[in-house]
């Protein structure tokens, strides 16, 4: 039976955070692929968006962008408070998740409006790119929200307070979800 004790290692970045950073960098490349495909396709078309397709709701989505950004700020506050004041951190986390959910709901309402106005995935390449890029981001928001809920549940189960690395790792993912959105917003909505 092996009874050796693994010596403690000095780590510049904790395991969980480092792993999440690598995941996020792969995700950035995924969105880069989508964005470059979109830009290349757009550059070859004269009328963009196509004339028979509805315009995108710039104002409403702009407000929604601020909602998501605020959610990122709340997440940063939760991480900051998690060391000293776990109760307060939990509240910030809840607020952050709530804003993320709001973002998702507003986007969903927009989608149903666009669909009603006659923009479908197969009505034009523009529609296809719109639903694919925005949908891909939406899936990432859902994944981020699930992580937030996981963090909240874990926090309940561990009364001593959040494992700081877990929360930081989740926050890295959430910052990515928040930060990639304005890029997509500008590229897709402003033509």
């Amino acid at each position: 039976m092996n009874t050796a004790i693994l010596p403690a290692q000095r780590k510049l970045i904790p395991d969980a955070v480092l792993g999440m950073l690598f995941l996020v960098s792969a995700e950035i490349m995924f969105f880069s692929g989508l964005i470059s495909a979109y830009i290349i396709n757009r550059s070859g078309v004269v009328d963009w968006p196509p004339l028979n397709q509805p315009r995108l709701p710039i104002l409403m989505t702009g407000i929604n962008t601020f909602v998501l950004a605020l959610s990122g700020v709340f997440m940063a506050l939760a991480v900051k408070k998690s060391a000293g004041a776990p109760r307060s951190a939990e509240n910030w986390l809840k607020a952050s998740a709530l804003l993320g959910l709001t973002f998702l709901l507003v986007q969903g309402t927009e989608w149903s409006n666009m669909l009603a106005a006659g923009m479908h995935t197969n009505s034009s390449v523009f529609g296809a790119f719109f639903y694919t890029i925005i949908g891909a981001h939406g899936v990432h928001v859902v994944a981020g929200l699930l992580m937030l809920i996981y963090a909240l549940i874990k926090n309940r189960m561990e009364p001593v307070g959040q494992n700081p690395n877990r929360l930081v790792a989740i926050s890295v993912y959430w910052y990515f979800v928040v930060a990639v959105w304005p890029v997509l917003y500008v590229l897709v909505y402003f033509n």
Partner: protein, 572 residues
């Protein structure tokens, strides 16, 4: 995670020990065994279509008649299975899991549960690939590169009744590959975090063995390049399932776009497989030359340069896709430049051999075979890298011969070198030397017989992805008809002789000579653990004092100095 912990909890039951294990050694072996099964599948597909090429229209033993649709499906799946479901589990997931924690002197991966999940997702992806043969309409047959519009239109092997579900050829093919990527991503994150955070005390970056470096560079290359392909595959899936028109020119889409996204991944993927194989050579050659690896740091710098270059040469696969000639020039030059760092790595291996006291053990023979064969593959790559020649040779058997001369040595010679080298470590038994030698010669010679003749057929203009050549008068004459038959007979001998390897594995596991801790007198840390290593690997955990290649050092009595040996080496 940060606190020291004891590794006393070795799993006891059969299920937790051999199936749902989180031990990196078990997972590595699981990957390799799954890879062997997939190699059998991919090999059988190759046997069937090679037989059809040599003896068109005849009934194939063990299979029967092969029609054109199935021919396409078999060629397509042979390609994808051999690259992603054999090469990746052998060289990246398999070797990475087995070696990284041991060679950097730690107990396990950074995220053992994630590691176990990555294997099970990989297994599911393999099952999806195999299951695709049995859905209505058969497996996907649009070429392993999935080029639209063929793959996007639903034209290929799709049963109309199933068109809107996932259970048809193209979606299942994409799903299988996507799951493999998820698995690789999880494994890759594990490799990188483990190597960065869990190294033994004293294991500074330039004391890390070459293969660990190369596995990590390969993983980084994979993670940088896979995102755009996933994006492209999502769009292809939507074209198939939802009916979008991303790749449909009639609806404003662009089929060449997919080629760019595919090869942005597809080209670095070559180096994702090549680098671990080169890493295996970097471990084996110094041990059996009893000399330090020549220019260890330079090799690492060169491979970093190659990894960066590898993501900007992809369009050399598309010289005839109608890309701008100015762009073709850029990609031609990039492709030829990328051979410089790899030439440097190869010359370093040659220089390591130079003047060494070479021991012709089984792993060394395989390593030397790898170098000889890969050289032919690499040199023909230089011709193809130039767009002027490529436009003539594109999609001919010259290309097929070229990439089999690169991929076969990488995947199989790399794998066999590694197995013959590390088998004593992970099983505690030696492999049979005579059987190993027979296996080598019955792989090396038939391989050359199979693929060397294809260079000539390719230069004569034989186009790939054609199941029957009776209307091609330039091919339907001697010697090309005979060359087809020679190639097929070589391939059959090559496949049958692999049973020698399997027999050797079984007989050696049962009756093999017992292996001591360090049978090859090697320096790296895995040889300082027990054979086979216990759960937790080391007792006590090692402290590293030396680089991995201190062989025949003048101030040491032994001709090797294990990395955890505290003696002081005088440099003069």
């Amino acid at each position: 995670m940060e606190t020291p912990h004891s590794t006393t909890h070795a799993p006891q039951g059969f299920w937790t020990k051999y199936l749902f294990s989180t031990d990196h050694k078990t997972i590595g072996i699981q990957y390799m065994i799954t890879g062997l099964f997939m190699a059998a599948v991919g090999g059988f597909l190759a046997y069937v279509f090679r037989y059809n090429l040599a003896f068109p229209g005849e009934s194939i033993p063990l299979f029967g008649q092969l029609d054109a649709m199935h021919y396409n499906a078999f060629v397509t799946n042979h390609g994808m299975i051999m690259v992603l479901f054999v090469g990746m589990p052998f060289l990246v997931s398999g070797l990475g899991n087995l070696l990284i924690p041991l060679m950097i002197g730690t107990d396990d991966m950074a995220f053992p549960t994630l590691n176990m999940m990555s294997f099970w997702i990989f297994l599911v992806s393999c099952l999806v690939m195999v299951a695709a043969f049995f859905v209505p309409g058969g497996a996907f047959g649009g070429g392993w590169t999935l080029y639209p519009p063929l793959s996007a239109s639903g034209y290929v092997n799709r049963n109309p009744a199933f068109w809107s579900t996932f259970f048809s050829a193209t979606p299942m093919f994409i799903l299988g590959v996507a799951l493999e990527f998820v698995s690789m991503l999880m494994g890759g994150i594990n490799f990188l975090v483990t190597t960065i955070n869990k190294r033994a005390e004293g294991m500074t970056p330039f004391k890390i063995p070459l293969i660990v470096w190369f596995l990590n560079i390969a993983t980084l290359d994979f993670m940088v390049s896979v995102g755009p392909l996933v994006a492209g595959a999502v769009m292809l899936l939507l074209d198939n399932v939802v009916g979008t028109g991303f790749y449909d020119p009639a609806r404003g889409g662009d089929p060449v776009l997919f080629q760019h996204l595919f090869w942005f991944f597809g080209h670095p993927e070559v180096y994702v497989l090549l680098l671990p194989a080169l890493g295996v050579m970097g471990e084996i050659i110094p041990v059996f030359s009893r000399k330090p690896l020549f220019a260890y740091r330079t090799i690492i710098y060169l491979s970093l340069i190659a990894a960066v270059l590898s993501v900007v040469v992809w369009a050399h696969h598309q010289f005839i896709a109608g890309i701008d000639p100015r762009m073709a020039t850029f990609f031609s030059i990039g492709t030829i430049i990328i051979s410089i760092p790899f030439a440097g790595v190869f010359l370093s291996f040659m220089a390591t051999l130079w003047g060494g006291s070479i021991r012709f053990t089984m792993p060394m023979i395989w390593a030397l075979g790898f170098i000889g064969l890969f050289l032919i593959g690499g040199l023909t790559g230089l011709y193809l890298g130039s767009s002027t020649f490529d436009i003539y040779a594109h999609d001919t058997y010259f290309v097929v011969a070229h990439f089999h001369y690169t991929m076969f040595p990488v995947v199989f010679f790399g794998f066999f070198s590694a197995v013959y080298f590390w088998f004593p470590k992970f099983t505690g038994k030696h492999l049979n030397h005579t059987l190993g030698m027979i296996h080598f010669w019955l792989t090396f010679i038939p391989f050359n017989v199979t693929f060397f003749v294809l260079f000539f057929n390719g230069l004569a203009g034989q186009h790939r992805r054609v199941n029957e050549y009776s209307s091609f008068s330039n091919i339907m004459k001697e010697p090309y008809i005979t060359f087809e038959k020679i190639s097929t007979i070589g391939a059959i001998v090559l496949m049958v002789s692999q049973f020698i390897f399997l027999y050797n594995l079984f007989i050696s596991l049962r009756k093999g000579r017992k292996a001591e801790k360090n049978p090859w007198d090697s320096n790296t840390l895995e040889w300082q653990a027990d054979s086979p290593p216990v759960h937790g690997n080391f007792n006590p955990y090692p402290v590293v004092y030396h680089g991995p290649y201190e062989y025949s050092h003048p101030s040491s009595e032994q001709d090797f100095v294990p990395q955890d040996n505290p003696i002081v080496l005088k440099t003069n």
